[in-house]
Structures are given as structure tokens and as C-alpha cells.
């Protein structure tokens, strides 16, 4: 069996961890101001953040929220953690920016610094680099969050012993609208030092049905 031990929601300029509000900013702030404000609020120190496109900034922030003050990364070898993400708009937000650099023949300035982000799985790469995670990767695109697909994929990885835990969820950015729902999913026979951290809070979800309910409660 598998369980979700922690989750984080970032939307409407609010950050919610395990159901509790952790940070909020004025709703009128544009996304880019909100996310930079959150970065400063938590005193993160990761200069690459400022080079990232919006999608990667959101994924980065979500993964920091899950992993800060948490022993998750210490409990598993780096190649036993997978990162499985999904979204609706792929990298369309930055795609449109790259297209703008080439649409005017008299003002033609395609840039590697923009182009490199025009793939949705770059955010998985950014999370793996930041947290030294080497396990399975997958980036799926679906019109809406699909709890059954993500749950099933992680369970298949667990049962074929590919990984023991995943960081998974939904990270989507498109035209000023954005949403992230990230969670840690682990096999329920947790490593011992992991149990000690989880035990009082118990797990949050143990089925895709639960995951779906959790998502619907917040979205």
C-alpha cells in the first residue's frame, strides 16, 4: 500500500501545507511578484531561482515547501526517489515568450536562456538538481488533474521496486493563472527514521480516491 505523507498547495497567492495556511499575499499581486515575495519570506537562498521561468519557479517553491524541515531526503537513497509531475499547459507560458522573440523578423532575438525552458519536464530537472534526486522521472499532460493516473503510476513504480517514494502532483502556469498541488507519496512500510517523523501526524491519504477528495477540497 502507498500513502501520502505531506502535501502543499500554491494558488490564489496562498501557500497551504497539509491543509494549513502557511503564507499569503495580496490577491491582486501578479504571480511573479507573489512568488518572489514568498521566496524572500522563507529566506530561501538559491540563486538559480531567479533564472528560472515561471513554471520552474512554482515547482521549485512547491518542492521547497514539501522538503524544508523534513527528513524525507535523508530516509531514501537518491535513486529511490522519483519525480512524477503533470499539468495542462505543458510549457506554453514560456513557449509564447520564445515565439515573441522570433515573430518579428526585424527584431529577432531567440535566446538559449528562454528556449531551454520550453519543455515541461525542465521543472522536474530543477527539482532533481536542487535536491539531488536521481530516480524515475515522468512528465504527463492532461486537461485536468488526474489523481488516478498519478496514483497508479507511482504504485507501479513501487511494486516493480523502481523507487520507494515520489514527489508528485500538478504544477501549471498559463497566462497569469497558476496552480500547484504537490505531495510526497511513499510506500507505507516507511523506513524507521521516517516513521518517527510521520507517526504523530499519521498519513493524509492512502488511495487515489482519497487523493481525489483532497484535491477537490482545495480546488
Amino acid at each position: 500500500m502507498s500513502i501520502i505523507t505531506k502535501y502543499c498547495i500554491i494558488r490564489d497567492n496562498r501557500i497551504v501545507i497539509n491543509g494549513e495556511l502557511d503564507y499569503q499575499a495580496d490577491l491582486t499581486l501578479p504571480f511573479i511578484e507573489f512568488i518572489k515575495g514568498a521566496y524572500r519570506h522563507y529566506k530561501f537562498n538559491y540563486l538559480k531561482f531567479f533564472k528560472m521561468d515561471e513554471l520552474c519557479k512554482l515547482a521549485y517553491l512547491g518542492s521547497e515547501m514539501l522538503l524544508k524541515n523534513d527528513n524525507f531526503l535523508d530516509c531514501y537513497p537518491s535513486n529511490e526517489i522519483g519525480v512524477i509531475l503533470s499539468n495542462c499547459a505543458s510549457s506554453l507560458d514560456i513557449d509564447i515568450k520564445h515565439q515573441k522573440t522570433i515573430s518579428d523578423k526585424d527584431n529577432y532575438f531567440p535566446s538559449p536562456a528562454v528556449f531551454v525552458y520550453t519543455l515541461p519536464n525542465i521543472m522536474i530537472g530543477e527539482i532533481c538538481i536542487r535536491h539531488k534526486i536521481n530516480g524515475e522521472n515522468a512528465m504527463f499532460v492532461s486537461e485536468r488533474f488526474d489523481p488516478d493516473q498519478l496514483w497508479q503510476y507511482a504504485e507501479m513504480l513501487f511494486s516493480s521496486a523502481k523507487v520507494s517514494a515520489v514527489i508528485s502532483g500538478w504544477v501549471d502556469v498559463m497566462y497569469d493563472s497558476y496552480a500547484a498541488f504537490l505531495y510526497i507519496m511513499e510506500k507505507d512500510n516507511l523506513p524507521e527514521q521516517r516513521q518517527s517523523q510521520i507517526i504523530n501526524k499519521s498519513y493524509i491519504c492512502n488511495s487515489s480516491q482519497h487523493l481525489s477528495e483532497l484535491y477537490n477540497r482545495h480546488f
Partner: protein
Amino acid sequence: MNKVFIGTDNIITSLGFSTQENIGNILDNVTGIRLHSDPNLSRNPFFASIVDDMLLAVHFDGILNHFYPGKKPDDFTRLEQLLLLSAYDALSKSPVPADNKATLFILSSTKGNVDLLADTKKQLKNPNKLFLWDTARFLSRSFNNPNKPLVVSNACISGLLAIIYAARLIQHGKYENVIVCGGDIITEFVASGFQSFQSLENGACKPFDAARNGLSLGEGCGTIILTSKEEYASTPKIEFIAGASANDANHISGPSRTAEGLFLAIQSALTESGLTTGQIGYISAHGTATPFNDEMEARALNRTNMQDVPVNSFKGYFGHTLGAAGVIESILTIHSLQSGKLFKTYGFETPGDIEKINVIDEHTSSNINFGMKLASGFGGCNAAAIFAKK
């Protein structure tokens, strides 16, 4: 766990509209990479492998009425046309029922209909076409498939990862058949990006060659059918036996110097298969012909003690087909297992500057039982899969 057999397939590239046509040209040492000077694709002429417009129109005209009577070719994007042709060809040779609950479609693509970003008129006509899930839905609906199609968009490992995903779904009994379609087109969007990276070869790319200096972009589609039903398998029967992905955790646009991710993916696939490296008879590398990629792959093969296994790259024939590459090149790997023909690495002449590996430099015959397909991509992603002859 269910076994996973390989069914029928299709490849569309500049070298042809069927797998057989592509293999025929490969055996004749033909490359589809040539200089293109279409101002809609690039400000400066560039080398790429692009499907001929006229041939595409003729082929698509041949199936349009079957699927969409009354519609015009212009109602479909270039990628939709290629995908429909590819899936139709594979399915028309297969007993697998496309319109059945036991059958699933998976699309692999990096950029989908990204050409629409440059065409506001077409974009406004149907804005959903900008989304990959819409392309997948178009495909599955064309064949009256009742299931929600899935999309893998994981840079240059997309196609191979989609095959691994399909196999896992069959192994775990979620579906009996999965139809994996991979496709990407050549656009100014992609060409300008790779040009800005200065990673395009001035000519046809030269995988693993000492003088290699970049990749060649390729346009293409591939369809491969995976099935748990042995009676649906193509003959000689080939099984998918293992697959894995892993991340370098090193850099978003450059491969790891230590080949960490590819090393881990190969190890994971080997462990799952129960094979030793000595049993792998052939490796189809990613072999993009960029200086760093090929060096990294040679490192991975040496780290896994597979430096003597015959290895090739198909990129010199039809370029790097991005989200389709893993599908197209897996199909060719499977045909090598079936026929015992190993294809030479077009563009490779002089070894050097990378760790020693056994690059196939002439078409050869060899009775192999196990073949491995590799892929690596931006975001530090890597994948490996193993196919077996029964």
C-alpha cells in the same frame, strides 16, 4: 505480471511513410537530412530531415475520407496529419481492436502543434489545439477509442518513456493493448531555439565521430503497438522485458560528465530484466552527435561494462525526431532483433575523443537475442529499455 509483446508499427520520416520504406533507405545508405531554405522555418538555411509537403498531402488525401468525410486537409494540423497516417498504418496491419475498452492510446510529443503559435488565425479557430491533451484526444477519437488517452512530454526521452509506460500498464494488467504514437514537426520555434544554442551540425550529423559538431533536427512520427496477447504479436515475436528512467541531477541543458542518470537507468533496466551486460547483443544509442551527448553515452557504456557491445545511432539518417525519436528508434531496434540486421551509424567515420565503444560502421548480420534502447534529454532525463527475441 503480464508479458508484453510487440505488435505492428509504423515510421514516417523524410525517408518514407512506412517502416519498410524507412528500413529500405537505411539499407541503401540514404540520409534524409538536407539543406532547407524555407524562410518560414529559419532565417538562414539549415540542415534538417523534413517530410515532403507534397507526399504528405497525397498520403493524407488517401485516408481523409475514411476518417472525416467532408473535411478538408486544411482542417488538420501538420502533426495531426502525420499522427493519423502513422497510427492508421500500424493499426491497419494489426488485429488489435482500437475501439475497445481494453486498448489505450498514449501520445509522446515535446511540442505538439507548436506551429500554431505563429499562425494566429488558425490558433483562434481552435485554441485547444495548442494543448497536447487535445492532440491525444484527436488521435484516440479518430479511432473511436473509449479511453482517456495519456500524454508523455518528457523532452527527448518522451517516446521511450511512453513505451516504458505502456509496457508497465500492460504488465500490471491495466490494459491489454497500448498504442504508442510519437510525433514532432520541424518549426521555426524549434529550429530557432537549437540555432540559438549553436547545437546544429552544418550538414548531416555525425554520431560518435571525432569531427561531430552538433545535431540535425528531424521531423517524424512513429507508432508501436504493445500487447499482452501473444496472438497479436508480430513475428518473430519480440517482448519488452524491462525499462527505467533516471535523472542526472546535474544540469538542465547539458548531460552529466559522469553519465550518472544514464548509468542508473541502464542499471535499473538490467536489474529488472535479470540479464547481465554480457547478454546484451546490441544497443541503439541516443547518439545525437552533439559533442557532450555522445561523450556521455560512451561514458555510460564503459561504466556499465558494455563498451564492446555493438552500438549505433540512427540520427544520421533522419535527424533527431525529438518526441518521436524513442518510438521510431525502438521500432528499428525491434526490427534488428527480428531480422538479425544491425544498421551502420550513418555519418560515423573516425572514432576518437570519447571513451572507446563498438560503433557499428557497416551494415552487419548478427544473431542477437537482447537489444537495448537508450535515450537522454534536456532536464537531465535518461531512459533505457530492453527488448528480447522469443
